[in-house]
């Protein structure tokens, strides 16, 4: 093959080229070996050691053999290395030294001479020997042909002469020598390349040095250096080859960049001429000879040159199986080309570059798609995504250029452009099944419909790939473009979807400008769709955007207002509050108690910033309240006192905040837990002191952007049924403060929920739950009522003061409220200030008052003092009387009972005294309390109809004092007259008493109370009088101890009595008297009124001895029925009456013992002189 042949072929494949080796000498011999040589050479790699310390490469050497001739030897200056023989071998099988000397030697000489004439040193002489078994036993010949050849031709290069055993004749023996031959050929061949390439590099370098010389052409240089790349590619050193191309690429780029600042070399100006064709890349492993020849003729356009170079680079990359690098290089390559076109100011028909870029991109993408194992896809997706996007961009540009975008109709001019562009793309070789990029582009440009299809497909691919590699933002950008496309198409729905997606991303990352821009676009979209609700929502955001200028905002604001009027919806349109308002603060207006009392008004001050450009009427502002969870409340209750957490209070001027809510929204503001850290030296002295964070990882870790986006959630409307409200407020732009209020309802802990602003009747702006949490507590404290006595005990029968204390609790006492008091029997009360008399049922008017106030009302209290006649045990029981007061408050459904204990200040008792037949009534009043009482005007009256007279024996004007333990007696003489002692006399004792306030001055408070005491007097007649007398025995004047005396007993009936049988008993003190004989006896007064009985008694001691006591009792014989006046009084004796006689005592006063307490003088016993009877008569 020669150079002329090559140009005729449109494409060559370097892969098909192999290093060329010539053969000379015994052609027949060689042809017998050729096939096995060609086959065996590439089987093993050889290390290619190159000069200048370049990396050792492992190369698989292939070869093709041609017959040696003088013509094919490379000529000086011809550097088409891949088509030139690089190595030369002389083959002979001459074994006979003589034959060698005669013929072969000469042949070799001629061959070598020819080579040396061409300055070729890469040769080899192979002597093929036939292995002869017979020979082996013989002695080696003194000189062999090989030795001869070596000595003749290769005295310095002994390795260039090799003998090899003919593998065809004796395979078994030849293997070793055959391998040696192959290795030698490979080695020498590569050595030859090394030498040649070094020489070639020098040439290239030399050429490059001359790049600034006039007449130097980059194209020529390019072709020259490319030969180097070809060789390297041929040897399978694709990366090395790529280096060559990259060097050329860089050099060219540098030229163009330089031309921008300096002069443009002549060769470069060839590139500057306008181009008329823009075929895309053709990626493959072949070399496009057509393009190469254009280069050779310096006719290639910049795009053609760049395409060629890039396709060669891609070929190398494909050979090294790196499609991803193609993709990676593509975008910079395309950008670079466009930049170069600009720099060189190359004019091109409009759209031509776009076409080219599109074709190139698609070609690369299609190439990449051929590699569809997942690893590769993963590797190149990273780059293809932007390539897809770029292709899409270009297609869009073309669409715009050619009037193919929706909404346009291509003009004839634009149709003409399409034709021109299609022509410039060149012919396509694709099939219908596998359309080439050119086919696709042509189709896309052919009609609007086709364009749309292709454009959307591309956009879809680009977006999908971006999403696949996680470049959401890039995907969103394409989405924005697509939205614009759909907008033009009139498919607002689809556009809105893409815009909304983009908006979400922008908002998540706080790119306000971009977000608001998208809002504007969305608003247009919604308006077109006539989606009023969404339009209003979006417009609200726009109107509130500080990024926009005021006119725009006002425009949208006005649109909202007008649109709202048109809008006919039942429920208000709901949108997010944050769109137009910012909550600055929400505070509960706390009173000092920190809690709200049930039914009081909860007021919450809301401060918001309005971002709207104009003032707006807020029809209703409401803050919902939510009951805090019960569990939380219970946990909180122990520390319910807000004072316990001063730190919390500092943070919130109003409202308690929950602990968990206190966590700041910004993690960067979280408190670090630092602890002190001390380092000690070995001798225990302090080396350093520092503070360290316990868990630095938590704070130092890189915050991954993904998944940390601000969540934009549409909070559903909470329960506004019990919201704090205010109505009709004007919200000005900027700061607004208003108060929402409502009544505190059930007691409990509440937190503020959402803020809702109802604007212009049917636009409701709703916030999410207000954070940090603001809560308040509603409490209800029951009111309490107490009735307090003073220091002293309560006394019955005296008017005293008591204090009715009303703690209002959490209640407000309304005007005209009153307490109703009802007392139990015997207790009377009245408000002290009132003029009304004491009563058992009355109302206490209450003053109007605020919660937690205490009211004290003085009451007058008077408890009835019942007659206190009983003494002893009964007295104690009666110390307090339990009286009840029943109170009824207007706000309490139940009545309240209060038990009061009253002590009686005094008690009274009476006694009947007898003096013979006269009767006296004594009433004793005993003071029971330290409270002194003044008693006056005692009266005793008979309440029955008895003819009874009472004569007072009391001083008329005397006042008596009664104090604790002090007895005061009053006395009356009872004159019964002749009435029978059968029925009791009913009497009533009254005495006035009044408490003494000042003891020293004995001043009573003037108010006197009357004490009543009723009692019945029974047995008020003296029936019998007993008289007893001690008389000495007859003859004695005196009674003497130890001497018998007479006890004279006189019993006389003084009033009629039903009892006539009486028994007397002498009850003598046995230490003084000894009764001799009978001590008792029965006497009868049936017939007589008087009886005398004499008894013998003996005084035992001397002195004035009291007379022995004589007791008189009723004697009831055994057969006699009882004559008791009151049969019920003693039913038992009457029951036994028939069996035994019995005694029945008289009531005191019925028997008067007139000798009672008399004494008799008894002389001592006989030794003592007689004593006179000193007894009284």
């Amino acid at each position: 093959m020669n150079g002329n042949d090559i140009t005729a072929v449109a494409e060559i494949c370097i892969m098909d080229c192999k290093p060329i080796i010539t053969y000379a000498g015994d052609a027949a011999l060689f042809s017998s070996l050729e096939s096995s040589l060609v086959q065996a050479l590439p089987q093993d790699p050889t290390e290619w050691r190159r000069s200048y310390g370049r990396a050792v490469k492992s190369v698989y050497v292939e070869a093709s053999f041609i017959s040696f001739s003088k013509d094919i030897l490379p000529k000086q200056g011809d550097w088409h290395l891949i088509h030139q023989p690089i190595f030369h071998i002389f083959w002979t099988e001459c074994v006979d030294v003589d034959v060698y000397k005669t013929t072969v030697r000469e042949e070799i000489e001629v061959w070598l001479k020819t080579l040396s004439q061409h300055n070729i040193q890469d040769w080899m002489i192979v002597l093929v020997e036939t292995y002869d078994i017979k020979k082996t036993n013989k002695l080696l010949p003194r000189t062999t042909v090989l030795d001869k050849i070596r000595s003749d031709f290769a005295s310095k290069h002994g390795d260039r002469c090799l003998s090899v055993i003919n593998p065809i004749r004796s395979e078994s023996r030849s293997a070793e020598s055959w391998r040696g031959l192959l290795a030698r050929i490979r080695h020498l061949l590569l050595g030859a390349y090394n030498r040649t390439l070094i020489r070639f590099e020098e040439v290239i370098r030399d050429q490059r040095e001359r790049r600034n010389e006039l007449g130097w052409s980059f194209c020529q240089y390019f072709l020259l250096q490319e030969e180097m790349a070809f060789v390297l590619e041929m040897l399978g050193l694709y990366e090395e080859a790529l280096v060559q191309y990259d060097e050329l690429d860089a050099l060219f780029t540098q030229f163009i960049l330089n031309s921008n600042v300096g002069e443009t070399p002549e060769w470069l100006s060839n590139f500057q001429c306008p181009f008329d064709s823009w075929p895309g890349l053709m990626l493959g492993q072949t070399v496009n000879q057509a393009q190469r020849s254009l280069l050779k003729e310096c006719k290639a356009s910049l795009l053609e040159f760049r395409s060629y170079l890039f396709s060669r680079q891609c070929a190398m990359l494909l050979l090294t199986f790196k499609p991803w690098e193609i993709a990676q290089r593509s975008l910079p390559f395309l950008h670079n080309c466009i930049k170069e076109l600009e720099i060189l100011e190359i004019s091109a028909p409009p759209g031509a570059v776009a076409c080219w870029v599109f074709l190139c991109s698609l070609e690369v993408l299609h190439t990449c798609e051929r590699f569809n194992d997942s690893g590769q896809v993963e590797a190149y997706s990273l780059y293809t995504a932007s390539l897809w996007a770029y292709a899409r961009d270009k297609l869009r540009d073309l669409g715009q250029l050619c009037g193919l975008m929706p909404g346009n109709e291509p003009t004839s001019e634009q149709l003409h452009i399409v034709v021109g562009l299609s022509a410039g793309m060149g012919d396509s070789h694709g099939s219908a099944k596998e359309p080439t990029p050119t086919d696709k582009l042509k189709e896309a440009l052919s009609s609007k419909e086709a364009f749309k299809k292709h454009y959307l497909e591309l956009a879809e691919l680009a977006m999908g790939t971006y999403k696949h590699i996680g470049r959401i933002r890039s995907a969103r950008m394409i989405g924005r473009d697509l939205a614009a496309f759909y907008l033009q198409l009139g498919e607002m729905q689809k556009a809105a979807v893409f815009l909304a997606d983009a908006l979400k991303t922008f908002e998540e990352e706080n790119w306000n400008h971009l977000a608001i821009q998208t809002h504007l676009e969305l608003a247009d979209c919604y308006r077109e769709m006539n989606d009023k609700e969404r339009f209003i929502k979006t417009s609200a955001v726009i109107a509130s955007a500080p990024e926009l200028d005021l006119p725009t905002r006002i425009l949208y604001f006005d649109k909202i207002i007008s649109m709202l009027e048109e809008l006919q919806t039942e429920s208000p349109l709901m949108t997010s509050l944050t769109d137009a308002f910012k909550i600055v603060s929400v505070e509960v207006n706390q009173n000092s108690n920190k809690v709200f009392i049930q039914d009081s008004t909860v007021e919450v001050t809301v401060v918001i910033d309005s971002c709207l450009p104009k003032q707006i009427l807020c029809v209703q502002a409401a803050v919902s309240i939510e009951a805090a969870k019960d569990g939380k409340r219970q946990n909180e209750m122990p520390s319910a006192c807000p004072q316990e957490q001063p730190a919390e209070r500092k943070q919130s001027s109003g409202g308690k905040k929950q602990h968990e809510e206190l966590k700041p929204a910004n993690p960067a503001l979280a408190r670090l837990h630092m602890v002190e850290h001390l380092d000690y030296k070995q001798d225990k002295s302090l080396s350093s002191a520092s503070i360290v964070s316990k868990n630095p990882k938590q704070f130092l870790r890189r915050t991954d952007s993904h998944g940390k986006y601000r969540k934009i959630s549409n909070t559903p409307k909470g329960d506004f049924s019990s919201a704090l409200l205010t109505e009709n407020i004007i919200l000005q732009p900027g700061r607004n403060e208003f108060i929402v209020k409502s009544k505190a309802q059930e007691k409990g802990l509440y937190r503020l929920g959402q803020l809702s602003l109802l604007l212009a009747r049917n636009l409701e702006l709703l916030s999410s739950t207000i954070t940090p949490c603001v809560s308040f507590e509603v409490m209800r404290e029951p009111s309490s009522l107490t009735l307090n006595k003073g220091e002293k005990d309560l006394l019955a029968g005296l008017e005293q003061e008591m204090v009715l204390t009303l703690c209002a609790g959490s209640y407000t006492i309304a005007k005209d409220a009153y307490l109703k008091l009802r007392t139990s029997r015997g207790l009377q009360m009245q408000v002290k200030s009132s003029e009304e008399p004491l009563s058992r049922d009355f109302k206490v008017p209450l003053p109007q008052s605020e919660p937690f106030q205490t009211l004290s009302i003085l009451l007058r209290v008077l408890a009835e003092l019942p007659p206190q006649k009983d003494a002893g045990t009964i007295e104690h029981k009666a110390i307090t009387s339990f009286l009840q007061v029943t109170l009824q408050c207007p706000w309490m459904p139940q009545e309240k009972s209060i038990t009061l204990h009253f002590q009686p200040p005094l008690m009274s008792s009476f006694r009947l005294h007898t003096a013979h037949t006269r009767k006296f009534v004594q009433v004793v009043v005993v003071g029971l309390n330290v409270q002194m009482l003044e008693l006056s005007k005692p009266t005793l009256t008979v309440t029955g109809n008895h003819d009874v007279r009472l004569r007072s024996l009391n001083p008329t004007n005397g006042q008596k004092l009664a104090s604790k333990g002090m007895n005061v007696s009053f006395m009356w003489q009872l004159d019964v007259g002749n009435i029978e002692d059968t029925c009791p006399i009913k009497t009533e004792f009254t005495v006035h008493y009044s408490p003494i306030i000042d003891l020293t001055k004995l001043i009573s408070d003037g108010q006197t109370q009357l004490y009543h005491y009723n009692f019945d007097i029974i047995d008020y007649k003296t029936l019998f009088v007993v008289k007893s007398r001690i008389e000495p025995m007859k003859g004695s004047e005196f009674c003497r101890a130890g001497t018998m005396c007479h006890l004279q007993l006189h019993v006389q009936r003084v009033n009629a009595s039903s009892h006539s049988s009486l028994m007397y008993e002498v009850l003598a003190d046995q230490t003084m008297w000894a009764v001799c004989g009978r001590t008792a006896g029965v006497i009868s007064l049936d017939t007589v009124d008087k009886q005398n009985v004499t008894l013998d008694v003996m005084p035992l001691i001397g002195g004035f001895l009291p007379l022995p006591l004589v007791r008189l009792s009723k004697y009831i014989p055994a057969d006699q029925k009882t004559h008791s006046r009151d049969p019920n009084r003693k039913p038992e004796p009457s029951y036994h009456a028939t069996s035994h006689p019995r005694l029945e005592p008289f009531s005191p006063g019925q028997v008067y013992n007139s000798s009672k307490a008399q004494q008799v003088h008894v002389l001592p016993s006989a030794t003592v002189s007689s004593a006179t009877d000193a007894s009284l008569p």
Binding site: R471, E509, W511, R702, S705
Partner: protein
């Protein structure tokens, strides 16, 4: 026209990054991106193109994220500040580059106890320095 985005990783602890882009010749803009990827500071000499560039800077965040995550995986030295080409178009290339001066000023801002990390940067001295960098007076 060339454009470059400067990505300044501030000190390791705050983990916040700052993107500064500036365009030589015609317009200069500057955007600092916080760790939540929201712009912290935006300054542009040519307001007409500001929106366009915001879109571009925003898009280039994809690449920033990609590169940062790959740095985290492969290299332990997170202080490597150079991230390579971020974003390129026919007209612009965005390279993150580190302005020592900007970084210093940014560090000052972050160290201000009254500055809440993540908030937009509002600082006179920061403005001045950035303007100086943009106009080439730095």
């Amino acid at each position: 026209m060339t454009c470059s985005v400067s990505l300044a990783l501030s000190n390791v602890k705050s983990m916040s990054k700052c993107i500064v882009s500036y365009i030589l010749k015609l317009l200069i803009r500057l955007g600092c991106i916080s760790f939540q990827n929201s712009p912290k500071y935006i300054s542009c000499l040519n307001p007409e193109l500001e929106l366009q560039f915001q879109y571009k800077v925003h898009t280039s965040l994809d690449v920033v994220e990609e590169k940062l995550s790959s740095i985290g995986k492969t290299s332990s030295d997170v202080r490597e500040l150079y991230l390579g080409l971020l974003y390129s178009t026919e007209e612009h290339k965005m390279y993150p580059s580190m302005f020592r001066k900007l970084h210093t000023v940014y560090t000052d801002v972050v160290c201000n106890p009254f500055y809440i990390p993540g908030d937009p940067v509002v600082s006179k001295s920061f403005d001045t320095t950035v303007k100086n960098i943009m106009t080439g007076n730095a």
